[in-house]
């Protein structure tokens, strides 16, 4: 019973934090876009415009709800639901902190540590594409359909390369559980130093999976009006936009836990604090890393223009996947060498 209660509280906290961060990511996106373009950005709602996400949310809820008469009603509603559900589900396996020891019992700050952790993330992400596909198809609109088709082919292509990058990582760490991967990067032994190519591949694929610029072809305004969510309005549109930001938050969390040590930080052992304090500091640092990557996502968005579709496919299939295979081979040699099974 106590176990369930703790897990329930953790789920609620993670859910609220994901939603809160996603909401403020919209604000941060507008602010960063403005700053990078020498503007000020939203500053009218509250001090520094901090209430802007609230205003946006209220606006989204107040908007008229339109379901096209020729749309497939059920699937039209199902689309944003799947999108939102899958993006919220991924946070389950991410270790947010080492854990707290209270009265002799150890409580890890993670909802669940399943032994297929990273595969779970891949599974959920691969389901996420249905949200876009179903929504785009059910809208009964050519632009939406084009967006949906682009989204699905893009996500499948880049999922492969992402998988390749992660396979190399699994080879060095020898585990699928994200928590164990993070524990292995204790101190400053971050995976990015052993897997630099894998990291670059992973982050590029993460951009593509989140449909962020330069890979935002599914909602490419210049060609497709609004892409897969052209026909959506009100909070259903809000769900699509919001899910994108949750996805961004989750992928930032996964990147920082897979390659940047998660809640580990350099000189963790030299500080001499009690484990509980170290754990709290670690969680804060983990969030710092996440915020940096969210910023990086936005920074890239306001720097690089969008790919052309054939360039996107070319990059995915002819560059990323061969590089991924190369990385796997290189990692194999590295692992053998490290285990002393290879002599030069």
């Amino acid at each position: 019973m106590e176990f369930l209660l703790i897990k329930f509280v953790l789920v609620v906290i993670v859910f609220v934090i994901s939603l809160g961060i996603a909401a403020y990511s919209t604000y941060a996106e507008r602010k960063i876009a403005a700053f990078l373009q020498d503007r000020v950005g939203p500053d009218r709602a509250g001090p520094f415009g901090l209430l802007q996400p609230v205003a946006d949310g209220v606006k989204m809820f107040m908007k008229e709800e339109i379901i096209p008469s020729n749309a497939d009603r059920l699937l039209f509603i199902l689309g944003p639901c799947i999108m939102m559900m899958t993006s919220c589900m991924t946070g389950v396996v991410i270790p947010w902190g080492h854990g707290l020891e209270i009265n002799g019992t150890f409580y890890p700050v993670q909802i669940t540590d399943i032994n297929i952790g990273i595969l779970y993330v891949f599974g959920v992400v691969s389901i996420g594409v249905y949200g876009i596909m179903i929504g785009g198809w059910a809208s009964n609109n050519k632009y939406s359909l084009m967006g949906a088709i682009r989204a699905s082919s893009q996500m499948i292509s880049y999922e492969l390369a992402m998988g390749m990058a992660v396979i190399a990582l699994i080879m060095t760490t020898g585990t699928l559980s994200i928590r164990e991967m993070v524990e292995q990067q204790h101190g400053f032994h971050w995976n990015v130093f052993t897997q630099p190519l894998g990291f670059v591949l992973f982050i590029i694929c993460a951009f593509a999976e989140c449909n962020r610029t330069p890979f935002d072809l599914p909602e490419c305004e210049t060609e497709l009006v609004g892409g897969y969510h052209t026909e959506y309005s009100s909070m259903k549109l809000g769900f699509y936009l919001f899910a994108e930001y949750i996805n961004m938050f989750i992928s930032a969390a996964i990147i920082s836990s897979l390659y940047f040590g998660g809640y580990n930080f350099p000189f963790i052992d030299q500080l001499g604090f009690s484990p509980n304090i170290l754990s709290i500091v670690g969680t804060l640092i983990f969030f710092g890393k996440i915020f940096f990557f969210i910023f990086f996502f936005m920074w890239i968005r306001w720097t690089i223009p969008r790919f052309r579709y054939d360039q996107l496919m070319h990059l995915g299939w002819r560059t990323m996947i061969p590089l991924g295979i190369l990385n796997i081979l290189g990692t194999g040699v590295y692992v053998l060498y490290k285990n002393g099974q290879l002599h030069f």
């Binding site: 297929i116 499948i156 999922e159 699928l176």
Partner: protein, 165 residues
């Protein structure tokens, strides 16, 4: 709670969705039911403690192959007029073929009762055990399959290459 209750719920859901795949009028709905069916089958894997198989099943079948199915179906304009007319001969042949398939499947499951699932072992489907089985006992078939896949991949690359004028 009856320990086999989750199984019966999942099984009835998978039978229902499998039926809906055939009975749905819209092809896209069929595919979506098929995806749902895959999920329920994934649930069966979980009940058998095969988490790795579950994850791979979801990623590969529900996440990739069915997306491609849906992808193709969305391009096709499925109208009543465009549907090819089926002669009675084809219908009879299809029924006979499906019946044969059913007989084969029933025949396969006939000897299965001797292989009662060992549900007491909880670690049977974990990644480590699966890896040991694949790279130990079943190394040859595993490598043969990987060569087959490699051949398919080379073929795909060849098809995808720009044709030389």
């Amino acid at each position: 709670m009856n320990p086999s209750l989750p199984f019966f719920v999942l099984a009835s859901l998978s039978v229902f969705s499998a039926l809906m795949v055939v009975l749905s009028r819209k092809p896209v709905h069929s595919v979506l039911y098929l995806i749902f069916c895959f999920f329920t089958i994934g649930g069966h894997y979980l009940l058998l403690n095969a988490q790795f198989l579950f994850a791979v099943h979801i990623i590969v079948y529900a996440g990739a192959i069915m997306v491609l199915f849906l992808f193709t179906l969305m391009f096709i304009n499925m109208n009543k007029e465009l549907e090819p007319h089926k002669t009675n001969l084809i219908k009879v042949a299809a029924t006979v073929a499906a019946g044969c398939l059913l007989i084969v499947m029933v025949g396969v499951t006939k000897g299965a009762e001797s292989l009662a699932a060992n549900s007491t072992r909880t670690d049977v489907g974990t990644v480590a055990n699966l890896g040991k089985a694949l790279y130990g006992q079943y190394l040859l078939p595993f490598e043969l399959i990987s060569i087959l896949l490699l051949a398919a991949m080379v073929g795909a690359v060849l098809l995808g290459k720009k044709s030389v004028e």
